[in-house]
């Protein structure tokens, strides 16, 4: 039996088991903490910084997806300051690449778009970086539009941790970072890709998509992402 911790999130008393993260317990209690790199069933990396929360007594913000719960901790997940940070980080994602919702296959099914709406992000103040990037449509079934990629690396992790193919990884660094297949070759030429489509399923935006889909017809968000991943993980005993 694992130890049960009781603590507070946004003033609400909650309980969770030792080893759980703040994010998991919040989800179980219907408290919505945004996050774009987090996905149940694959390992968390604390990279998108949208799930940053305040913990009383700590001067630093911390990512809820990688913060383990402790007895009596007092978490603030929503405050004016946190919402401002989240809005700015989301804005950074928009100005980094080219997100044009009106022509996107994921329009209305996009986690980035939803987040912008939730945070009431209505316009951009930051200078636009927006380089013109490639679309790789060499794969028989799928395509990737780097203009829409937010580098959450869900595709990389699901390909590695669940499919076991490790076709995806990242190349370069900083602003030049891109997801890539095998030796940075066109996806269609990859010898390791099993065409399982998990990467497409987990992509939060329209970066990875099934070929032949029209604007706003993305199928992947009509059902929960890989719903069995968490159960599989739990059965394995993490």
């Amino acid at each position: 039996m694992s130890t049960v911790f009781t603590f507070r999130i946004d003033g609400k008393d909650v309980a969770g088991s030792e080893g759980q993260t703040v994010m998991e317990v919040a989800e179980e209690n219907g408290i919505d903490i945004p996050g774009l790199c987090h996905l149940e069933g694959i390992h968390d990396r604390g990279a998108c910084r949208l799930c940053m929360v305040e913990i009383a007594g700590s001067p630093k913000l911390t990512a809820a997806c990688v913060t383990k719960i402790t007895e009596g901790m007092d978490v603030t997940a929503h405050s004016e300051r946190l919402q401002e940070y989240r809005r700015t980080v989301t804005e950074m994602l928009f100005v980094e690449r080219n997100h044009v919702c009106a022509v996107c296959v994921a329009n209305d099914h996009c986690e980035l778009q939803d987040l912008a709406a939730d945070l009431e992000l209505t316009h951009f103040d930051l200078p636009r970086i927006s380089p013109k990037l490639d679309i790789d449509a060499s794969h028989r079934l799928f395509a990737i539009d780097h203009n829409r990629c937010i580098l959450c690396l869900r595709c990389v992790r699901v390909c590695d941790e669940i499919e076991g193919a490790h076709t995806w990884d990242v190349m370069h660094r900083g602003l030049e970072t891109r997801v890539q297949t095998d030796m940075g070759i066109p996806w269609g030429e990859s010898t390791t890709c099993t065409s399982c489509g998990k990467c497409v399923q987990v992509c939060p935006t329209g970066a990875l998509f099934e070929k032949g889909r029209a604007v706003a017809s993305g199928s992947k968000h009509q059902r929960p992402f890989l719903p069995w991943l968490k159960i599989v993980e739990e059965e394995r005993g993490r």
Binding site: H166, D169, M171, H172, Q180, D182, M183, T192
Partner: protein, 163 residues
């Protein structure tokens, strides 16, 4: 159960692959040897081509996409062959405030190359480095591995043009 796989063959019978192979073997042919192996291959061949990356990855059991990810992450590794000579301009703070910017613009004017480019005749590659620790010699450049301190841009251009 570990997947057993035959040790891959070196891409060619070039003897330099032996150096790479030995370095990997000394580290137990484990994935942790990746960066050391890439260093060995680049030392031996001057740059890392796809053959080298595949060979290293297959020997160490590292997925190709990860090998590529590592090779492109570190700026020390180069995936393209360099020119006959290299001129590295240090752009560390001490060199910067002592005129590294002028050296780069001087080189661009005279040789028509920006950092990370090679002259059209394939003679000289111009690169930059983030502080080589020769701050006392600022501004410093490294020509074919030799540090030149307190560089004057006209002298430098003359020296490179004579190469």
């Amino acid at each position: 159960m570990p997947v057993l796989h035959a040790k891959p063959q070196a891409p060619t019978d070039d003897k330099r692959w032996k150096i790479v192979e030995t370095r990997m073997r000394r580290m137990g042919d484990r994935p942790a040897a990746l960066i050391e192996a890439l260093h060995a291959a680049q030392e031996a061949f001057g740059y890392l081509d796809t053959d080298a990356l595949n060979y290293v990855g297959d020997t160490l059991g590292v997925p190709h996409s990860r090998v590529y990810g590592v090779a492109t992450f570190y700026s020390f590794f180069t995936l393209k062959p360099q020119g006959e000579h290299t001129c590295v301009v240090c752009t560390g703070t001490a060199c910067y405030i002592n005129g590294a910017k002028d050296i780069l613009s001087g080189l661009e004017k005279a040789l028509h190359v920006k950092p990370r480019q090679t002259t059209a005749d394939n003679k000289i590659s111009v690169l930059t480095a983030r502080c080589v620790g020769s701050c006392s010699l600022a501004p410093a450049v490294i020509i074919d591995g030799e540090v030149k301190g307190k560089v004057n841009v006209d002298d430098l251009v003359a020296q490179l043009e004579a190469m």
